[in-house]
C-alpha cells in the first residue's frame, strides 16, 4: 500500500511503479526475497550435510549423557516398583519378588552383566554381585524371595544398593553429570562431594585448563618476538623465515609428535647431546617425555604457528611510523613499545591466545602419545571411557562439559575476532 508520503514524493504521477505496474516497493521486496532465497539455496546443501554428519551425531551423543535405559529396559518389574515406592522405607517381599523375576529373565536374555555394569558405575562391586546372583538364581524356589536372596548374598539388603538402583530405574538420569563433576550420591540419595580419593575429573579439568593456559602463554612469549621480526623484516627475508613457521604447520601432527619422541626420550637426541657435552651424567638423563613436560613441549611446538600467524597478520598492519614518531617525541624504547606498539597488536594477541587455548583444551593425540599418565588431558579420559571402560554415559557427560567450555570460548572468539576473519597461512 502506498503511504501518504510516497504519494507526496511522487507528486501528481501517483506512486512509482515498474514497467508492468507493480509498485516499486513491492517489486523491491520481491526481488530482495528472491535474492535471499537464492543465497540460502546455495548454502542449503552444505547446511544439510553438516547438520546430518555433525550436528545430529553430536546431539545424539550429548543425549546419551542423560539417557541410559539399560536398567529400566532389562529390569522392568523392579524398575516400575522402584519408581512407585519410596526407597528409604524398608523394602518388602514384593520388591524382592520383582528383583528375582527380573534377574531370572535377564539371565535368560544374557543381559544381567550389562545391568550389573550400569549399577557398578555408581557402586563398585555391583557387576560381580549381579553376575554371581544371576548364576545362582535357579536355586531360589518360589516365594518368599527376600530371605532366599539375602542368603545368597547379603549385599542385596544394603540401602545404598537400592538407592543406586532407584536412580538407575529412571531412564533419564543426572548421575553421569554428577560423576563428571566429582559428585556422588550418599546412601540416602543426597548429592555430596565424592570421597577425596575418587575426585578425578575436577582435577583433570583443572589440569587441562592449566596446561592449555601454559601452552598459550609459552606460545605468546615465543611467538610475539618471532611474529614481530617477520613483520618488520623486508619481504625477501621474512618469506624465508615464514617457511619455518608454515612447514611445521603443514607437517602431519604424527610426524611432529614422532620427532619430539625422537628428540626428548631418555635415550634420545637431546639427552645424548647433553650427555656427550658433559652437562648431564649418563644416569642423570632428563625425563622430558611421558609426563606433563612432554605434553607441554610438544603442544607448544604444534600450537606456535597458530599464535604467530594471527599476530603476524595484525603486526603487518601496524604502521612503523607510529613507533618512530613516539621515539622522536621523546619516549624511551620501552615506553614506545608499551604505549604505542603493544596496544595496536592486542587484537592479534587475543586471537592467538584464544585460538591456541581452544585447540589445546580439546587435544587428544599428542597427550596420548607423549603425556604419560601425568600429561593426560580431559580428552584422553573421554576416549578411555569410550573405548576401554565403555562407560559411554560418563564419556558423553565429560564431552558435554568440555564442549560447553569450548563453545563459550568460541563465542568469545567470534565476538572479539569474528570467525570469518580467521586467516589460514
Amino acid at each position: 500500500m502506498p503511504t501518504a508520503t510516497d504519494t507526496v514524493a511522487a507528486g501528481d504521477l501517483g506512486p512509482l511503479t515498474t514497467g508492468d505496474g507493480t509498485p516499486l516497493k513491492t517489486a523491491l521486496a520481491r526481488a530482495t526475497r528472491r535474492a535471499r532465497l537464492k543465497a540460502l539455496f546455495l548454502v542449503a546443501p552444505l547446511l544439510l550435510f553438516v547438520i546430518v554428519t555433525f550436528a545430529v551425531p553430536i546431539g545424539q551423543m550429548l543425549y546419551l549423557s542423560i539417557y541410559n535405559p539399560v536398567f529400566s529396559d532389562n529390569m522392568p518389574r523392579l524398575s516400575s516398583w522402584l519408581r512407585a515406592h519410596d526407597v528409604t522405607q524398608v523394602r518388602g517381599e514384593d520388591a524382592f519378588k520383582a528383583l528375582v523375576l527380573d534377574l531370572t529373565e535377564a539371565r535368560a536374555n544374557r543381559t544381567h552383566a550389562q545391568v550389573g555394569t550400569r549399577i557398578n558405575y555408581e557402586r563398585t562391586g555391583a557387576t560381580s554381585l549381579f553376575k554371581s546372583t544371576a548364576r545362582k538364581i535357579k536355586r531360589i524356589k518360589g516365594p518368599p524371595y527376600k530371605d532366599q536372596l539375602l542368603a545368597l548374598n547379603e549385599e542385596w539388603g544394603e540401602l545404598h544398593l537400592w538407592t543406586v538402583m532407584t536412580r538407575a530405574a529412571a531412564p533419564h538420569t543426572a548421575a553421569f553429570y554428577a560423576q563428571a563433576l566429582d559428585l556422588s550420591y550418599d546412601a540416602e540419595g543426597d548429592i555430596v562431594r565424592a570421597p577425596e580419593n575418587r575426585r578425578i575429573y575436577g582435577h583433570l579439568f583443572l589440569r587441562t585448563l592449566l596446561l592449555s593456559a601454559l601452552v598459550a602463554g609459552l606460545c605468546l612469549i615465543l611467538g610475539y618476538p618471532a611474529a614481530h621480526l617477520l613483520a618488520s623484516l623486508p619481504l625477501k627475508y621474512s618469506n624465508l623465515l615464514m617457511v619455518m613457521v608454515l612447514l611445521p604447520f603443514w607437517t602431519s601432527l604424527l610426524v611432529r609428535t614422532t620427532s619430539w619422541i625422537t628428540l626428548l626420550q631418555s635415550q634420545g637426541v637431546l639427552n645424548d647431546m647433553l650427555v656427550s657435552v658433559g652437562i648431564l651424567s649418563d644416569n642423570g638423563r632428563l625425563e622430558l617425555m611421558y609426563n606433563q613436560w612432554g605434553t607441554v613441549i610438544a603442544m607448544t611446538h604444534i600450537m606456535l604457528p597458530f599464535m604467530i600467524l594471527p599476530l603476524y597478520s595484525v603486526m603487518k598492519t601496524v604502521p612503523k611510523d607510529f613507533v618512530r614518531a613516539a621515539r622522536s617525541l621523546g619516549a624511551g624504547p620501552v615506553t614506545a613499545f608499551l604505549r604505542v606498539y603493544l596496544p595496536q597488536t592486542v587484537p592479534g594477541i587475543g586471537a592467538g591466545i584464544l585460538l591456541v587455548f581452544i585447540i589445546s583444551v580439546g587435544y587428544y593425540i599428542t597427550p596420548a602419545l607423549v603425556g604419560g599418565s601425568s600429561g593426560q588431558l580431559i580428552s584422553n579420559q573421554i576416549a578411555f571411557h569410550m573405548l576401554q571402560s565403555l562407560n559411554w554415559g560418563l564419556a558423553a557427560a565429560l564431552g558435554a562439559l568440555l564442549l560447553g567450555g569450548v563453545i563459550l570460548l568460541y563465542w568469545l572468539y567470534d565476538r572479539l575476532v569474528g570467525v570469518d576473519n580467521m586467516k589460514l597461512g
Partner: protein, 302 residues
C-alpha cells in the same frame, strides 16, 4: 635492518638478544622436523645419532627402514625381487595399504568438501544472505569442536546408521572436517571479488551457470584450490575419527603411525615421517605458488 647510528649500547645489546631469541624460536620450530630426516637413514635400530653417523661413515647409514616400509606385512618379504615380489608388496604391505587408503579417502572427501563448500561460500558472500553469522558459525564449528567429541558422536551415529567400518563413513566424516577450511579460504577470496563483474556478465546475456564458469570460478580458483589442499591435508592427517570408526580395512597412514608409536616403535616410523615431510614441502610450495597467482590477479583486477 641495521641499527641506526644513534643507538645506545643498551639498545644494541637488546637488539642482539632479541635476534638471538628469535633465532631460537625458529630453530625450535624447524629443528624437530629436520632432525628426523638423517635419523631415518640410521643403520641401527636407534632413535639417536650413532657414532658412525656423526663420523659420516657410510656404514652408519642405510635404507633399511625405507625398505621395511615396503616389506612390512608382505607374505614373502625375503623373496627375490621380481615382478611377483612387487605385486606382493602392492597387495600386502601394510604401509602401502595405508597409503592407498589415505589417498582414496583424502581425495574423495576433498571433492565433497570443495564442491559443497564453494557453493556455500558463494551463497554466504552474497550481501542478501540471511542469518549469515549464525550459519557461518555452524559451518566453521567442525574445526573448533574438539576432535574427540566429533569422533565420539560419529561413533554412536555410525554404529546405528551402519556406517561404522565403511569407507563411506570415513569419507563423509573427513569431508565434514575439511569443510571449514574450504569455507574460510573461499569466502576470503570472494571478499576481494568485484561483484560488478557478475552484473556485467549478466547484462551481456550470460546465464548464472556460464557466469560462474567463465567469470567467477577462474578468479576464485586459487582460493578454491588452497581450500581443497587444506581439506585434503586435514583428511590426510586425521587420526581420531579413523581410530574410532575405521576397521583394519580403512587403516590410514596416520593410524599406522599411531599404532607404530604405541606398539612396536622402530625407525620405520622415521622413514614414513621423512616421506611425509617431503610431501608437506610439496604442498607448501603449491600453496605459495597459488598465493602469488592470487596476488598477481588481484593486481590486475583491483
Amino acid at each position: 635492518m641495521p641499527m641506526p647510528p644513534h643507538a645506545t649500547t643498551f639498545e644494541r645489546i637488546w637488539r642482539r638478544l632479541y635476534l638471538a631469541f628469535c633465532a631460537g624460536v625458529f630453530l625450535f620450530l624447524i629443528a624437530p622436523i629436520i632432525v628426523i630426516v638423517p635419523l631415518s637413514f640410521n643403520a641401527e635400530p636407534y632413535f639417536t645419532f650413532t657414532r658412525d653417523m656423526l663420523a659420516l661413515d657410510p656404514d652408519g647409514f642405510s635404507l633399511r627402514w625405507y625398505d621395511r616400509l615396503l616389506t612390512y606385512g608382505m607374505t614373502a618379504p625375503d623373496a627375490v625381487r621380481d615382478g611377483a615380489w612387487w605385486a606382493d608388496a602392492w597387495a600386502n604391505s601394510q604401509w602401502i595399504h595405508a597409503a592407498k587408503n589415505s589417498f582414496v579417502i583424502g581425495i574423495s572427501s576433498t571433492l565433497i568438501a570443495t564442491a559443497l563448500g564453494t557453493l556455500a561460500a558463494l551463497g554466504l558472500s552474497r550481501p542478501e544472505m540471511p542469518f549469515r553469522r549464525a550459519i557461518m558459525a555452524l559451518l566453521i564449528s567442525p574445526m573448533i569442536v574438539p576432535m574427540i567429541i566429533s569422533a565420539t558422536g560419529l561413533f554412536f551415529f555410525y554404529s546405528k546408521a551402519g556406517l561404522a567400518h565403511t569407507y563411506i563413513g570415513i569419507v563423509l566424516a573427513h569431508a565434514m572436517l575439511g569443510i571449514p577450511f574450504v569455507i574460510i579460504t573461499v569466502t576470503a577470496t570472494l571478499s576481494g571479488f568485484d561483484r560488478s563483474l557478475i552484473h556485467a556478465a549478466a547484462s551481456l546475456g550470460a546465464s548464472p551457470v556460464t557466469t560462474f564458469r567463465k567469470v567467477i570460478l577462474p578468479l576464485i580458483l586459487p582460493g578454491v584450490i588452497s581450500g581443497a589442499l587444506f581439506a585434503f591435508v586435514t583428511s590426510f592427517d586425521e587420526v581420531v575419527v579413523v581410530l574410532f570408526v575405521a576397521s583394519y580395512d580403512q587403516q590410514t597412514i596416520p593410524l599406522q603411525m599411531w599404532n607404530g608409536i604405541r606398539e612396536q616403535i622402530s625407525p620405520t616410523i622415521l622413514a614414513a615421517a621423512t616421506i611425509l615431510v617431503l610431501f608437506s614441502i610439496a604442498l607448501l610450495t603449491t600453496l605459495e605458488l597459488l598465493r602469488r597467482r592470487t596476488e598477481r590477479l588481484r593486481g590486475l583486477t583491483g
